[in-house]
């Protein structure tokens, strides 16, 4: 934000680096350009997902009588339909909906922390950062559960003919998912799921570490001593970016 707390001492002249054409501090600029490069990384992943998905036949028929096969790409709402504590239930997209809600809410508490930082309100910064941190940890826990469920699979599994890791063609009931075969659809379905949601989860993990750092430093008064809360703002940019990526992952993995 252009109203960042930092004020550069411009004793240096215009040609000595004293002017600021972008009116943002070095750290914030670098965070923005890092995020731009990360947009390209995630963009390439998601567009690749689209391309690989298009190279497989779509499931023809109504969602009600959908059954998994490695012949066609599955319908997401029939795959992601489990919630914790209810065994074998069919609750399409309920759990990812909850995860989306948690991440959006943690993004909101992050903006509130940044806003409190602009006002030098240490108590508010600490309070909102703690909420954000909790949201991030909850999201990661949800993702861990979702992965565990995806890997272990359903009770019935799916009867599939596929090429196993020894290059033999086998026909057997497949349970859960790994990088060779999965009970939900073509191998690429699980590979892309692990790869892209895993990369996003890795970003969230780093975000949680950074949030903890900001929370700790704000709480012990490091930023107050420093005279500004710009670190909260930079970590905030990163955290919103994680939310932004999830919005796209949600659309491409769970809706389309």
């Amino acid at each position: 934000m252009s109203s960042t707390a930092i004020q550069v001492n411009s004793k240096r002249g215009i040609w000595g680096g004293g002017n600021e054409p972008l009116k943002a501090s070095y750290g914030k600029l670098m965070m923005w350009f890092f995020l731009l490069s990360d947009i390209f990384t995630f963009g390439a992943f998601l567009i690749t997902y689209g391309a690989i998905r298009m190279s497989y036949p779509a499931y023809e028929g109504s969602a009600a009588d959908f059954s998994s096969s490695n012949e066609y790409w599955p319908i997401p709402e029939m795959i992601y339909d489990a919630i914790p504590f209810v065994h074998g239930g069919h609750f399409p997209l309920v759990f990812v909906g909850l995860m989306t809600f948690i991440l959006i809410m943690s993004s909101v508490t992050m903006v509130l922390a940044v806003e409190a930082g602009h006002r030098n309100d240490k108590n508010d910064v600490v309070k909102w950062l703690l909420w954000t941190l909790l949201g991030g940890i909850t999201f990661l826990s949800c993702q861990a559960w979702e992965w565990a469920h995806f890997i272990h699979g359903t009770d019935d599994g799916t009867l599939m003919t596929y090429v196993n890791s020894f290059n033999n063609i086998v026909t057997e009931t497949v349970y859960g998912a790994n990088l060779i075969v999965n009970e939900y659809g073509p191998p690429a379905f699980a590979q892309l799921f692990f790869f892209i949601t895993g990369f996003h989860g890795f970003h969230v993990t780093i975000g949680v570490v950074l949030l903890f750092l900001a929370f700790y430093q704000a709480a012990v008064g490091v930023y107050q001593q420093r005279g500004h809360y710009e670190m909260v703002e930079k970590i905030g940019l990163y955290w919103h970016f994680v939310d932004l990526v999830w919005v796209f992952v949600f659309t491409f993995f769970y809706l389309i």
Binding site: V108, V111, L112, H118, N120, D121
Partner: protein, 108 residues
């Protein structure tokens, strides 16, 4: 909002209009997501539904970048140096969609 007293760190009182705006943005994001859920279970799957999903996703991305990341309030050169390079993604979408559908034709 500009920080005048940076040495004694005077706490500026909350501006309720600003905080309200943040919560309204959050409400918009949640409503758009809820609307996507409704579409997912009521509309038949097909190109029209996918286009709607992608448009709604871009609406959400707009709100996150403009309201949460405050990109709109940055200096114009910074704003454009973030937005304009994204045009390369448009090319990538076109190229890889073509690639995907061609692989489909070759394989099946």
């Amino acid at each position: 909002m500009a920080q005048e007293n940076k040495n004694d760190m005077e706490v500026i009182p909350r501006d309720s209009a600003k905080i309200r705006k943040i919560w309204i943005t959050a409400l918009i994001l949640l409503l758009v997501t809820a609307f996507e859920f409704v579409l997912a279970f009521t509309m038949p799957r097909g190109i029209l539904l996918y286009v709607l999903f992608i448009l709604l996703t871009i609406v959400k991305a707009y709100y996150i970048m403009m309201e949460f990341m405050h990109l709109g309030e940055e200096a114009k050169p910074l704003f454009y140096s973030i937005i304009v390079p994204l045009i390369f993604l448009v090319w990538l979408v076109i190229a890889l969609m073509k690639e995907g559908s061609d692989i489909f034709l070759m394989r099946w």
